[in-house]
C-alpha cells in the first residue's frame, strides 16, 4: 500500500518486525465501536504468537468487544533520539474466556498482567487480519 504521507524519513515497518515490537511491550490501546462511536481504552496485553491477549472486567465496554472488529495500537516517541513509531493491528475480538477454538487456547497460554486494580476474569483475544507499522526519524 502506497501512502501519500510516506517520505524518505517515514518508513513502513514490516509485519515480522511489528510482531517483534509487540512482543517487547505490554501496554497498548484497543479501539472498539459502540453504536457508531469509536472509543479507545488503554489495556495491558500479552502476545501468544500472533494473538493479542487482554483481560476485561465484568460489565466493561471491552466485555462487548467479542465478535466485533477492533484495532489495537502501540506507539512510542523518543524525543532525545528523535525516533517515533507506531504499530496497529486490525482484527476480530474473540471471547477467549473458556472457548475451545485455537485462538482462545492460544490466548489462554499467556497471562496479560493488568496494572489497573479490579477483577478482570474475562479473556479477550484479538486475531489479527492486518498488522502495519510506521517509523520516523527527525533531527534533534
Amino acid at each position: 500500500m502506497k501512502s501519500i504521507e510516506s517520505g524518505p524519513e517515514l518508513e513502513e515497518i514490516r509485519e515480522a518486525e511489528c510482531l517483534e515490537i509487540l512482543g517487547r511491550h505490554s501496554l497498548g490501546r484497543i479501539a472498539i465501536v459502540v453504536d457508531g462511536q469509536p472509543q479507545i481504552y488503554p489495556v495491558n496485553y500479552a502476545m501468544s504468537d500472533r494473538i493479542i491477549a487482554i483481560r476485561a472486567a465484568p460489565g466493561s465496554k471491552l466485555g462487548h468487544a467479542p465478535g466485533s472488529k477492533v484495532s489495537f495500537e502501540i506507539d512510542e516517541y523518543d524525543s532525545s533520539a528523535g525516533v517515533g513509531w507506531s504499530v496497529m493491528v486490525q482484527g476480530i475480538a474473540v471471547d477467549a474466556t473458556d472457548a475451545f477454538d485455537d485462538v482462545s487456547w492460544a490466548a489462554r497460554a499467556v497471562e496479560a498482567s493488568p496494572l489497573a486494580p479490579g477483577a478482570k476474569p474475562y479473556r479477550i483475544a484479538i486475531e489479527p487480519n492486518v498488522i502495519t507499522g510506521r517509523r520516523f526519524r527527525v533531527r534533534v
Binding site: 501512502s3 517520505g7 517515514l10 466485533s68 520516523f136 527527525v138
Partner: protein, 150 residues
C-alpha cells in the same frame, strides 16, 4: 493531584481532565471505516476551548474523520508511583483548514506541532461532546529489588 488510594480506580473531575489534555500534546484518534472497523492513529495535538486540534496529510485519517464521530485518548503510567490514568474524549471532527469564523480562525494559530515529518496541511478540530478520565494506583507497590532477592 494524582493520588488515588491503592487498589482503587477513581474518576477524574472535569477540571483534571481538561488540565491533562492541556498538559500533553500526543494522543490517539480513533475513526471508523466503511466496514465499521475502528482505526487508531497517534497524533500531536493542541487542546483549548473544548476542541482538540491536529494536523494531517490527505489520507485515511482525514477522509474518515471529517464530519464523523471520533474517539480521542491520552494516557500516562508512572511505574515509580504505580499510578496510571487515561482521558477519553468523544466528539465530532471538522475541517478547519479554511476557517469560516472567529473561533476556527483563531484555532489556525494554535501551536499544533506534528513531530513526524511530512507536510500536514489539513487542520482538523475535534469538538468534544464528552470528556471522561480515570486514574488508579496499583494494589501492590513493587517491592524493592533487595527484598525480592531475599
Amino acid at each position: 493531584m494524582l493520588d488515588p488510594r491503592p487498589g482503587q480506580i477513581e474518576t477524574m473531575g472535569d477540571g483534571e481532565c481538561v488540565t491533562a489534555l492541556r498538559d500533553h500534546d500526543l494522543g490517539r484518534i480513533a475513526v471508523v471505516d466503511r466496514g465499521v472497523r475502528p482505526l487508531i492513529f497517534p497524533v500531536n495535538y493542541f487542546f483549548d476551548e473544548g476542541v482538540i486540534v491536529f494536523r494531517t496529510a490527505p489520507g485515511t485519517k482525514l477522509d474518515l474523520s471529517l464530519g464523523a464521530s471520533v474517539g480521542f485518548e491520552i494516557d500516562g503510567w508512572d511505574p515509580v508511583q504505580g499510578v496510571g490514568w487515561s482521558v477519553l474524549v468523544k466528539g465530532i471532527a471538522h475541517d478547519i483548514t479554511q476557517p469560516r469564523g472567529a473561533p476556527t480562525g483563531r484555532m489556525r494559530y494554535w501551536p499544533v506541532r506534528p513531530v513526524a515529518p511530512g507536510s500536514r496541511q489539513h487542520w482538523v478540530g475535534i469538538w468534544a461532546n464528552e470528556i471522561t478520565g480515570r486514574r488508579f494506583r496499583t494494589e501492590a507497590r513493587r517491592p524493592p529489588l533487595m527484598a525480592q532477592r531475599a
